[in-house]
C-alpha cells in the first residue's frame, strides 16, 4: 500500500529530491552553476510531467484519501510544470546577462512546483494547507530575490505579511469546518454539510474562501498583487502571474466542488461577488497605470474575475471552463511578460514604463506586433484566441441559468478592453520613444513566438484537444467528490 501511495506522488518526490540535490550543487558550485542548474530543473519538470498519474487513466488517491493523483490534478500539474519551466528559461536569459543569475532560483521554483502540485492534488484540508505553505515560502523568497533592490525586498515583505494573514484565515476556516463537520477530508466535510449549512460551517466556509481568494488576488483580496508584481524582478513576476494563479484557482475549484459541493448555493454568491468586483476593479484601476507590470497585475485581477464566472456556474462545464480559461490566460500573460522582459534601454537597464513603448511599431515592428497580439487577446477580442476562454466561461454561466451574470461580466470586459487598446495605441499610434536595446536571447524569442502563435487565430485549432482534456479533468471532481 505504501508503495502504491509513493507511486502516486512520484512526480512530487522527483521534484523535491531534485530540488534538494540542486541545493547541494548550489552549495558546492555557487552561482557559476546557475545556468546548468536552471536547465537541469527544466529537465526535471519535464520528466515529472511524464510521471503524472491520471493521464489516460482515472488515476488514484493516496494516503487514505488525503491526496488525489487524478486527471484534474494531472491537467493542472502539466500546465504548472510547463509554466514553471518556461519561467525558468525566461529568468535564465534575463538574469544571466549581467551575471547575476543566482543558483537558488531553480531550486526555489522546483519547491514551489512541489507545493503547487500538492495544492491541486489535496483532498484533505491539511494537505491543502501544507501544499499552500510550501508554495508560499518559496514565493516569498522569490519575490525578494534581488536582495540589493529595495523594491524587491519591499515586495517580498509585503507579500509575506499579507499572505501570512491570508494563511491564517485559511487555517481558521479549516478549524471551523473541522469542528462542525468532524473531518478534514473533503469527502467527509461534504457529507457533514449535506444536511444544510449551520452558522459555524458557514463561517468556516467564508474564512476559507477569503483566505484562498487572496491567493488568486480576487477583489477584495487583491491589494498585494500590484505592489508585488511591480517590485519583484520581471521574470519572477512572470512566474507569479502564471503557475501559482492556476494552482490556486484549481485548488479553489477542488475545495468548492469536492468539500463544499452541497453548499453550492452559499458559496456561489461569494464567487459571483468576487467575480464582478474583480472584473470591474481590475478594469477601472488599470486605466490610470503608468507601469506595465502594475498594469499586468490589474489585468490578472481582471482575468481572474472572468475565470470565477465559470466557477460560479458550479457545473462540470464551469470547472472545465475555468481550467480552459486559466490555461490560455497563462500563455497570454506569459507572452506579454516575455515582451516586457525585452524592454531595456541602451545601457541594458530594464524599463517598465508604458510611455517607453511609444512608437514601438516603428522601432521594433515585430515586438510591437507580438505585444499587440497579446493585448488584443487579453482583451478577449476575436479572432485572437483570448476570446475563446471568455466564451467558454460565459457559455458555462449561461448553461447554468446565470445569463444575467454572463451579461454583466461581458459588459465589464469592455472596460478592460480600453486599457489594452491603450497599449496598442501607445505602440502603434504615438511617436517613437527612444528605441530599446536589441536583445539576443533565442530561447525567450522562441517562447514568445510560440506563445504568439498559440493565441493567434491558429489557437482555435487547439479548442478540440484542450476542451477534451479540461472536460475529463473537470468531470473527475464531480464523480469522486459529488
Amino acid at each position: 500500500m505504501l508503495a502504491h501511495d509513493l507511486f502516486i506522488v512520484l512526480p512530487e518526490e522527483v521534484l523535491a529530491l531534485s530540488g534538494i540535490v540542486l541545493m547541494l550543487v548550489a552549495a558546492w558550485a555557487g552561482d557559476r552553476a546557475g545556468k546548468v542548474a536552471t536547465w537541469l530543473a527544466v529537465l526535471v519538470l519535464v520528466a515529472a510531467a511524464f510521471l503524472l498519474p491520471g493521464i489516460g487513466d482515472a488515476g488514484d488517491t493516496a494516503f487514505s484519501g488525503m491526496f488525489a493523483g487524478d486527471s484534474f490534478a494531472a491537467f493542472a500539474k502539466v500546465v504548472i510544470y510547463a509554466a514553471a519551466g518556461a519561467s525558468l528559461l525566461a529568468a535564465a536569459g534575463w538574469f544571466g546577462r549581467a551575471g547575476d543569475l543566482k543558483v537558488e532560483l531553480p531550486v526555489l521554483v522546483l519547491f514551489a512546483a512541489v507545493g503547487m502540485g500538492i495544492m491541486v492534488s489535496a483532498t484533505d484540508l491539511l494537505t491543502l494547507y501544507v501544499g499552500l505553505e510550501l508554495q508560499n515560502l518559496a514565493l516569498y523568497v522569490l519575490a525578494a530575490f534581488r536582495r540589493d533592490d529595495t523594491r524587491s525586498a519591499e515586495a517580498g515583505l509585503k507579500y509575506f505579511v499579507l499572505s501570512a494573514l491570508a494563511s491564517g484565515l485559511v487555517l481558521y476556516g479549516i478549524s471551523l469546518l473541522y469542528g462542525f463537520t468532524g473531518s478534514t477530508l473533503f469527502g467527509d466535510v461534504a457529507a457533514g454539510l449535506a444536511d444544510g449549512l449551520s452558522t459555524g460551517e458557514l463561517f468556516g466556509l467564508v474564512f476559507l474562501l477569503a483566505g484562498l481568494a487572496f491567493k488568486i488576488s480576487a477583489v477584495p483580496f487583491h491589494m498585494w498583487a500590484p505592489d508585488v508584481y511591480q517590485g519583484a524582478p520581471t521574470p519572477i513576476t512572470a512566474f507569479f502571474a502564471t503557475a501559482p494563479k492556476l494552482a490556486a484557482m484549481a485548488m479553489i475549484a477542488r475545495v468548492l466542488v469536492e468539500a463544499t459541493g452541497p453548499a453550492t448555493e452559499s458559496w456561489r454568491q461569494m464567487i459571483i461577488f468576487m467575480a464582478l468586483a474583480s472584473t470591474v476593479l481590475g478594469g477601472v484601476a488599470a486605466i490610470a497605470q503608468k507601469n506595465i507590470k502594475r498594469l499586468l497585475a490589474y489585468s490578472s485581477i481582471n482575468n481572474v474575475g472572468f475565470a470565477l464566472v465559470g466557477l460560479a456556474a458550479g457545473t462540470p462545464d464551469g470547472v472545465a471552463a475555468v481550467l480552459f480559461y486559466m490555461t490560455v490566460y497563462i500563455v497570454m500573460t506569459f507572452g506579454a511578460f516575455l515582451i516586457v522582459l525585452r524592454m531595456r534601454d541602451q545601457d541594458g537597464q530594464p524599463i517598465e514604463t508604458i510611455a517607453s513603448l511609444a512608437g514601438l511599431a516603428r522601432t521594433r515592428p515585430w515586438m510591437a506586433f507580438g505585444m499587440m497580439i497579446f493585448m488584443f487577446s487579453l482583451a478577449g477580442i476575436p479572432p485572437l484566441f483570448g476570446f475563446w476562454p471568455k466564451f467558454v466561461v460565459f457559455n458555462a454561466a449561461v448553461a447554468a441559468d446565470l445569463t444575467w451574470l454572463a451579461a454583466v461580466a461581458i459588459a465589464t470586459s469592455v472596460i478592460s478592453a480600453f486599457y489594452y487598446i491603450m497599449i496598442v495605441k501607445t505602440m502603434f499610434f504615438d511617436d517613437p520613444a527612444p528605441a530599446y536595446a536589441p536583445t539576443r536571447d533565442p530561447v525567450t524569442a522562441v517562447l514568445a513566438v510560440a506563445a504568439a502563435l498559440f493565441v493567434s487565430p491558429l489557437g482555435y485549432l487547439a479548442i478540440g484537444p484542450l476542451d477534451y482534456a479540461t472536460t475529463i479533468a473537470a468531470d473527475t471532481l464531480f464523480t469522486t467528490g459529488g
Binding site: I381, A411, S413, A417, K425, L461, D467
Partner: protein
Amino acid sequence: MAGFPILSVILALPVIGAVACLLTNAKGARWVALITTLVTFALCIGLWLNFEVGGPQWQFAENVPIFGRYFAWALGIDGIALMLIMLTAFLMPICIAASWEAILNRVPEYMACFLVMETLMLGVFMAQDIFLFYVLFESTLVPMYLIIGIWGGADRIYAAYKFFLYTLLGSVLMLVAMLWMVNYAHTTSIPELLVTDFPPEAQTLLFLAFLASFAVKLPMWPVHTWLPDAHVQAPTAGSVILAGVLLKLGGYGFVRFSLPMFPDASAQLHWLMLGLAMVAVVYTSLVALVQEDMKKLIAYSSVAHMAFVTAGVFSFSPQGIDGALIVMLSHGLVSGALFLIVGVVYDRMHTREIAKYGGLANNMPGYALVFMLFTMASVGLPGTSGFVGEFLALVGSYQASSWAALVLTTGIILGAAYMLLLYWQMAFGTARTSEAAAMPDLSWREWAMFAPIAAVVLWMGVYPESFLAPMRDDVAVLVERIASSAPAGDAQVTPGHPAPSAAAAHEGEGTH
C-alpha cells in the same frame, strides 16, 4: 464545382496577400494588395456566375467541424450574402487604388490591414455558424481600429477609441444572446436556428441584445455618434470600407438574424424600429444640412440612408426588404464613391472644409461630372441605384405605416437639399481660394476608380433585376417565415388586378 471549397479559398487569398505585403516594401505591397483584391474579385464573379438562381437556398456550403464541440467552420451563401460579397470584393480593389498615392508611410502594414479586413468582411457574409459569424463580425474591430488610429486625421485617436469601444459594447451583449440561443436550440448552425421558434417572451430580450449590436453597427439614431468621428478621421479608403461594407453588417444582421429568428419580437417592436428610422432620417438630414466638413456631411447622410434600410426591413413586406437590400448595395457604392470624391480633392488641398472650395466645374470638369452623377444617385434620382432602393423601401414601409412612409419621404427631400447644396458650393460659382482654382482634373488612376462604380450605379438604376433576381427566393423565404406575425399596417393596401401579359413570364428569367 461540387466539393471544391471555393469559399474557403476566397477567404484564404487576402490573408496570404496580407502576409506577403508585410514581407515586402511599399511598392511591392501596393501591387500585391491590388493583385490580390483583383483576383479575389474575379473569384467572386465566378461565384456569381455559378450561383444557381432559384436553386437551393444555401449554396457552395462547406462544413468542417475543426473547433471541437462548440462551433464549426461552416460556410455557405444565399443570394443576399452573394450580393453583399460582390459589393465587398468590388470595393476592395478601388480602396487599394484610392490609397495608392494618399498613403505614404507604413504602406505594407496598411495594405495588410485592408486585406485582413476583406477576409473578415467576406467571412461574415459567408458564415453559416452563429459563433463563426460572431468571431468574424467582432474581428473587424481590430484592423479598423488600426486603420483609423495609424493613418487617420488629426483627431484620430479619439475616433479610434470611440469606434472600438462603442461597437464592442454593442456586440458583447449579442454574444450572450447567442449563447442563450445555442443552449436553447442545441445547434450553432444558422440555417437550423433560422427555423427554430424561440419562446416569444425570450424573443424580446434576444431581439434587444442583437439590436444593441446591429444598431451601433448600422448605425441607428441615437447610437450613431461614433460614425461621424470615425468617418472624418479615417483615411479615404477607410471611410469607403466603413460606409461601403461595415455599415452593411448591421443591415445584414437585421435580415439574417433579428427578423427571421425573432419574428414575434420584431413585430412587437416594429413601431420602435420605424420610429427610430423616422427620427434618424429627419434629424440626421437636418444635421447634414449645416455641416461645414464634407466628410461629416456624407457621414450623416449615411445615417439617414441606413434608416431606409431599417424601415424597409421592419416593414415585413417583400418590397420593403428588397428595397432595404438594394439600398444597402446602392449606398455601399454611392457613399463609397462620395468618400472617394472627397478624397480626390483632399489629396490635392488637404482640407475637407467646404468653404475652401468652389467653382470646381471650371478647372475640373471631369471631376464635376462624376461628382454630379453620385450626387444624383445619393439623392435618389430615377435611373440611378439610389432611386430603386429608396422607392421600394418606401413602398414597403407604406404598407406597414403610412405615417412612416410620409416622414421618410421628407428625408428624400432633405437629402436632395443637402446634397445639392454641397454640390453647388463645391462645383459652381467661382473658386474661393487660389489653390482650389489651380487643382488639376482627375488622373487616369482616379478615372479608373470611378468608372466601374458609376457603371454599376447606372446598371442597378436601369436594370435592378440583375441584383434582385439572386435575392428573390431568399426574401420570399424570409417573408414567409415572418408572415404569421407580421403586424397589420394602417394603409390597408389591396392588390390590384393587372391584366396578364406575355412579357411578365419572360421577365422572371432575367440575367443572373
